[in-house]
Symmetry: C2
Subunit: 148 residues, 2 copies
DNA sequence: TTGTGATTGATAGTCATTCTCAATAAAAAA
DNA sequence: TTTTTTATTGAGAATGACTATCAATCACAA
């Protein structure tokens, strides 16, 4: 049993919930699948690996993983909520390319520090923040110049 | 006819669209109603003022107002897209209180400057950005302390 | 004033997400 | 281990924000 699984099981116990095979299948898929995903992609990848978990259970389990800090809600793209696994990864922010959909992750300590200062100024107790920059990546800027 | 209305009319003409009474009712409501709103709140406030515009037309007009730069999509709260009027207002970022739903607007030039630098570093052409900080406002921090 | 194409409202459709509920299974108690 | 309690599951129905459809109507340019 790895660290993430242990963390999840402890969270479930703490909340009076049960450790079920379905929940473990979902967790393992989250840990092995691509870092950014939405509920449906998660459901699909579970089924590609020949595991059977219903869509409802996937949707029900995602909030549990969020609550226990293993994944986080990141962006909303085209009406869908997108998540990413955080366990074993550091916090970072995102750039999203409006041309090709590419996601660039970045982290800047000065940015984080500034936000902390701003929250202090407003006596606001930060839980989380999300910075999303939309625009065009290097490649797409060139493509758009070519087109005129 | 005020500046915003002129801008909207010009945008419509430029796009080969027509200036209709319904669109003008919606624009006026946007200009006079509260700064942050979602599609349904806009529809409701129009009807409270005894104007008749269908929900479909409200949904259809919002993107036109966004395209012409009079309003902007800000946050997504509980599955709803939230907008705010920008005409006559400067860019700013938001804090959202998880306790009472209050929205605090703030602007920090150093933060903006840093973001510009970061985009340059990645050769990313920024179109817009959105920083949302979630947490608890001063009042709600106190309330939560009282409860334990 | 007329002709053409855009717009409207009513309503049906879409699609992600949530709810319902009977059958089942996990964990606690015995 | 067996029983009891309670959470969980899957299937499908429901929800709700938003979008598409379409016939009737309107804006506006000529
Ligand atoms: Mn990421
Ligand atoms: Mn604002
Ligand atoms: Zn790109
Ligand atoms: Zn508050």
């Amino acid at each position: 049993m790895n660290k993430a699984e242990k963390k999840f099981r402890e969270h479930l116990k703490r909340e009076g919930l049960k450790s079920t095979p379905e929940r473990m299948v979902i967790l393992r898929e989250v840990l092995s699948a691509k870092k950014h995903f939405n509920a449906d992609e998660l459901y699909e990848s579970i089924h590609k690996h020949n595991k059977k978990v219903s869509r409802a259970t996937v949707y029900r389990t995602i909030p549990l993983l969020v609550e226990c800090g293993l994944i986080i809600e990141t962006l909303r793209c085209q009406g869908r909520v997108s998540y990413e696994r955080t366990f074993g990864f550091e916090h970072h922010d995102h750039m999203v390319c409006l041309g090709c959909g590419k996601i660039i992750e970045f982290k800047d300590d000065r940015l984080e520090e500034l936000q902390t200062q701003i929250c202090e100024r407003y006596e606001f107790k930060q839980v989380e923040h999300r910075l999303g920059i939309r625009g065009y990546c290097k490649e797409c800027v060139v493509k758009r110049l070519d087109k005129g």
